[in-house]
């Protein structure tokens, strides 16, 4: 049964963002703000960088504001110290990425002015931007969101989103795959990975793929085949999932931008689940000194070791 999700607060949130943006730009607290603005198609939204207080009213927040804007900061991190403090509009999920990036010395908290948005959810990538937000049209990641209200921001509008309990699709899909035999799982992923065209959009959009030279682009030695063929594709996605383990907090941008609809976030959620079970670690809530895979305790599980 389709359930309508209340997005009435988004208008008020937009207003609050606009006035805060106007204030901090005018006061010179920040030099630029990364946010969302309306795009040409009706109801759609796109990222925008504004540098003038006059442009503050361009900022919006709607169910179409799907992008994780954190990626605009990682790729621009060298510029930030020069330009001064930067404001950024963040949903709870985006904030998790920023938190992770701070833990990895990519960003500094004091360089950022965080405008958190109370968010009931955004639209799935397959849905037309002017559609209303419902239990059918909502993005899968929002179904299991645990950060509707971002914590620790410099500014958060006072509205509280109404968030109905929805069926967790990733969790369900992971459970389904886990119940299969290894051969069946292999067949499933083989089919998924065979679709890959190695466009690297997943890498491009990922806030954590901030390496200047990706391991997979190195050819001395050739660790991962670069051809868009099954063997290389499989290796690429396994290596990527491993590199994101303990870091990815599930913004699901990789899955959103994948032109071939490979369920990439499934791999990342699976790893997050395992690390939670093994080491009680969850990415994205606190700025951790060390992630789960670069720390240890002497009593870690070793039941799998002979």
């Amino acid at each position: 049964m389709t359930q309508t999700i209340d997005t009435n607060i988004y208008a008020a949130v937009t207003e609050a963002i606009q006035s805060e943006a106007q204030r901090i730009l005018a006061a010179g607290e920040v030099t630029a703000i990364v946010g969302y603005a309306a795009a040409r198609r009706k109801g759609s939204a796109q990222p925008i960088v504004i540098t003038s207080a006059d442009d503050a009213q361009k900022l919006i927040f709607t169910p179409a504001c799907v992008n994780n804007l954190a990626v605009y900061l990682t790729k621009a991190k060298k510029e930030i110290p020069k330009s001064g403090r930067i404001g950024i509009v963040v949903k709870g999920c985006d904030l998790k990425a920023l938190v992770g990036l701070m833990g990895e010395s990519q960003l500094k908290r004091e360089q950022l002015y965080l405008i958190g948005v109370p968010c009931a959810g955004v639209l799935a990538s397959t849905i037309q931007p002017d559609t209303g937000l419902t239990s059918d049209s909502i993005a899968p990641k929002c179904r299991e969101c645990d950060a509707h209200l971002p914590q620790g921001c410099d500014f958060v509008p006072s509205q509280t989103p109404v968030t109905p309990e929805l069926e967790k699709k990733y969790a369900a899909e992971i459970a389904r795959l886990e119940a299969l035999t290894p051969q069946e799982r292999w067949a499933y992923w083989k089919e998924q990975f065979s679709k890959c065209i190695k466009c690297y959009a997943c890498r491009q959009v990922c806030p954590f793929c901030f390496c200047e030279q990706c391991l997979c682009d190195r050819n001395k030695p050739q660790m991962v085949d670069t051809t868009p063929r099954p063997a290389g594709n499989t290796a690429w996605h396994i290596v990527r999932a491993m590199h994101l383990a303990g870091r990815c907090a599930g913004c699901a941008e990789c899955e959103r931008v994948c032109p071939m609809d490979i369920p990439l976030n499934l791999l990342n959620r699976k790893m997050a689940k395992e690390l939670k079970e093994l080491y009680d670690y969850e990415a994205g809530f606190d700025v951790h000194d060390k992630g789960p895979l670069n720390s240890y305790t002497e009593k870690d599980d070793q039941s799998f070791i002979k």
Binding site: K78, E104, S105, Q106, C211, C214, L215, P221, D289, G291
Partner: protein, 665 residues
């Protein structure tokens, strides 16, 4: 194109019995890049090595693979030979076809096939080997010793006697540490001060030793051979150079009743004081918290009476930087106390013993001061509460030690012995008294130790009761000791005049923060960790830092002195060379690819990874990257496996070398 030479060893018959070595040489000879392949009876023999050297030169070989025994056996041998022939030693690899092949398989065909594959893998690997220059680091032949107890004193004297300069830093106003406080020592009962003070004087007079007392380590930079140590010299308010140690200031000081920590607060001292008469240096220090001059601005008596004008109220803390090549850490221990600990602390106190509020319940060190001829009672055993001689005295062992519940599960190692000593001292001094000891186990391994313990029972008439004490409480002027004798299976109640607790040995407070400054590791109790429990018990994992005494774990005096001399020997070994050579198996950062996530730094157990700023010509910061200090790197390669972009690489085990081996399969 590489010109690889492959030498297949027969090892007498050890290899050739199950591996067809001629066939291996013939097959490998056909591999691309292999210019020469042969087999030989004994490659490690002189003629074998000569063959190797001759062939390198004649055939102009670029790389060498020796297929023989385990590299753990002869890698050094062959690398040396290769070096003698003019090649970089790291261009030689060994293929293990003995331990991993001929000795563990019987089928000749199978073993030969395996040997060919093993050698093939190493051929592919060696192609990717690079010239690695030996890393040399200069050595500053001066040493820092932290802590002026018996461990620090012994280490400092040994190093100084070997002709090297030593900087000795002591936190307290005088060196001597705990040993200076002891009355007599087990198992010979010689007077501690009689054997300790001459050594303290030696330190003071040694031309190679610079003593900084009343000083602390502020900061440690650098690495093995090249440390820069910043030392804070706390304001003593007395000029050490001018002071003659006449002691008039102490006599005239109007504040006299400050409990003296050296006497476990049983004796009193003035506000300007030396902790004990034989102190080294014999220069007083002003206790600013208790000095009238510092509290009210009035008085100034000590300055007036000081002939040489050494008293200086204006003195401030000063920082000095000392360059040293090696560091000996000898910070010693603190005694556990039974008082109530702050909430949430890992260590708990003994509420069942009144949290230390019963005046005649004392610890072992306090008993030492009572028994000491130079102590506050002149060597008489008297109760702190009323100054009476205790006729029934109870000793309880394992207080804090071996008590998980209180947060300490280790054995403090010295308590059994010193309690036995205490019963003897007590019996010698109070002839009509009776000593009882509650104990769980008597641990007396050591030369003449068990005999000593037995003597306390058989000759000195101490009554040992196997069983612990549940509770102590004051009843009138007695202390009721509620214990049990598990041998009999009954409860035992003793109304004692005095109770002496053998409290646990703990690391010094602040041991963890010093460790962090030094970059050495420590266990959950803050004892410093040695590099290897059995084979490297004196070294820290951090190169150039050595441990001596109880800071590493509970120890008695002989063990402490042994370890201190061992640490000194390690320092002298280091100082025997002008430059430090080390295997060039170290990690290197490829700065172009590094994005400064510092995952490598997070996993480095050696603290070898530093942050390095890259700036353009105008001095603008471009990025911050990782830098691996080759002097400090241990060479495990955990950083490389962790680095997402593989921008740090372990020389000798590069991805190229390893992938080449995997691909050779």
């Amino acid at each position: 194109m590489s010109r690889i030479g492959v030498f297949v060893c027969h090892c007498g018959e050890n290899i050739s019995r199950t591996v067809d070595v001629e066939r291996v040489a013939a097959q490998v000879g056909k591999m691309p890049g292999v210019a020469f392949a042969t087999d030989y009876k004994y490659m490690c023999s002189d003629p074998g090595q000569t063959l190797l050297k001759k062939t390198i030169q004649e055939q102009k070989l670029s790389h060498v693979v020796v297929a023989a025994c385990s590299p753990r056996m002869h890698e050094k041998t062959f690398r040396k030979a290769v070096e003698a022939a003019g090649l970089n030693p790291y261009l030689c690899e060994m293929a293990n076809i003995r331990e991993h092949c001929s000795w563990v398989h019987e089928d000749k065909q199978e073993a030969t096939a395996k040997a060919i594959e093993i050698v093939g893998m190493l051929v592919e690997r060696v192609k990717k080997n690079r010239v690695l220059p030996t890393i040399t680091v200069p050595v500053t032949k001066r040493s820092l010793v932290i802590g002026g107890g018996i461990a620090g004193i012994q280490a400092a004297l040994d190093i100084a006697d070997a002709g090297h300069e030593v900087v000795l830093v002591e936190r307290d106003p005088s060196i001597g540490g705990h040993m200076a406080q002891l009355s007599e020592t087990f198992p010979t009962l010689d007077c501690s001060q009689c054997i300790m003070t001459p050594k303290m004087v030696d330190v003071a007079n040694h031309p190679n030793i610079t003593l900084y007392s009343y000083s602390e380590i502020e900061q440690v930079d650098g690495y093995i051979g090249n440390f820069q140590v910043t030392i804070r010299r706390k304001a003593r308010s007395v000029d050490e150079d001018k002071c003659t140690g006449c002691g008039v200031c102490m006599e005239k000081c109007p504040v006299k009743k400050i409990p003296n920590k050296f006497d476990c607060n049983l004796g009193m001292r003035p506000a300007i004081y030396v902790p004990f008469p034989q102190a080294v240096p014999n220069t007083p220090v002003i206790d600013r918290d208790n000095c009238i001059k510092f509290k009210t601005g009035k008085c100034g008596l000590c300055q007036k009476v000081c002939g040489p004008g050494a008293v200086d109220y204006e003195q401030e803390d000063t920082l000095i930087v000392e360059p040293v090549g090696a560091i000996v850490v000898a910070t010693g221990f603190d005694l556990y106390t039974i008082d109530e600990k702050p909430k949430g602390s890992m260590i708990k106190g003994y509420g069942e013993f009144g949290h230390g509020k019963i005046p005649d319940v004392i610890d072992g060190m306090t008993f030492e001061r009572l028994a000491s001829a130079s102590g506050p009672t002149g060597g008489k055993i008297l109760r702190p509460s009323d100054g009476k001689e205790p006729k029934q005295i109870v000793f309880i062992q394992c207080i804090g030690s071996r008590a998980r519940e209180k947060g300490i599960s280790y054995c403090s190692k010295v308590c059994c012995m010193y309690t036995a000593k205490h019963t003897m001292l007590y019996h010698h001094k109070v002839h009509d008294g009776q000593a009882y000891v509650f104990f769980m186990d008597a641990r007396t391994p050591g030369k003449a130790y068990d005999e000593f313990w037995r003597r306390s029972i058989e000759e000195e008439e101490a009554v040992y009761i196997r069983g612990m004490v549940s509770r102590l409480y004051q009843k009138g002027n007695k202390i009721v000791v509620m214990g049990s004798d598990i041998a009999v299976g009954v409860q035992v109640e003793i109304e004692a005049d005095m109770v002496v607790l053998a409290t646990a040995i703990q690391p010094r407070t602040g041991a963890d923060s010093l460790a962090q400054k030094l970059g050495i590791s420590y266990d959950k109790y803050n004892f410093y960790s040695e590099a290897h429990a059995k084979l490297r018990p004196v070294e820290c994992a951090t190169a150039g830092i050595y441990l001596a005494g109880a800071c590493q774990g509970p120890k008695d005096i002989p063990d402490t002195v042994s370890q201190a001399s061992a640490a000194a020997a390690k320092v002298m070994t280091l100082f025997a060379k002008d430059k430090l050579e080390r295997e060039p198996i170290v990690a290197r950062v490829k700065e172009a690819g590094c994005v400064g996530c510092f995952a490598c730094k997070k996993v480095c157990a050696y603290g070898a990874v530093e942050e390095k700023e890259i700036r353009d010509r105008q001095g603008n910061l471009i990025k911050v990257v990782a830098y691996v200090n080759p002097g400090v790197c241990g060479g495990c390669g955990t950083c490389q496996a962790t680095c997402p972009s593989k921008s740090v690489e372990l020389d000798g085990y590069t991805d190229e070398q390893i992938v080449a081996m995997i691909e050779a399969l």
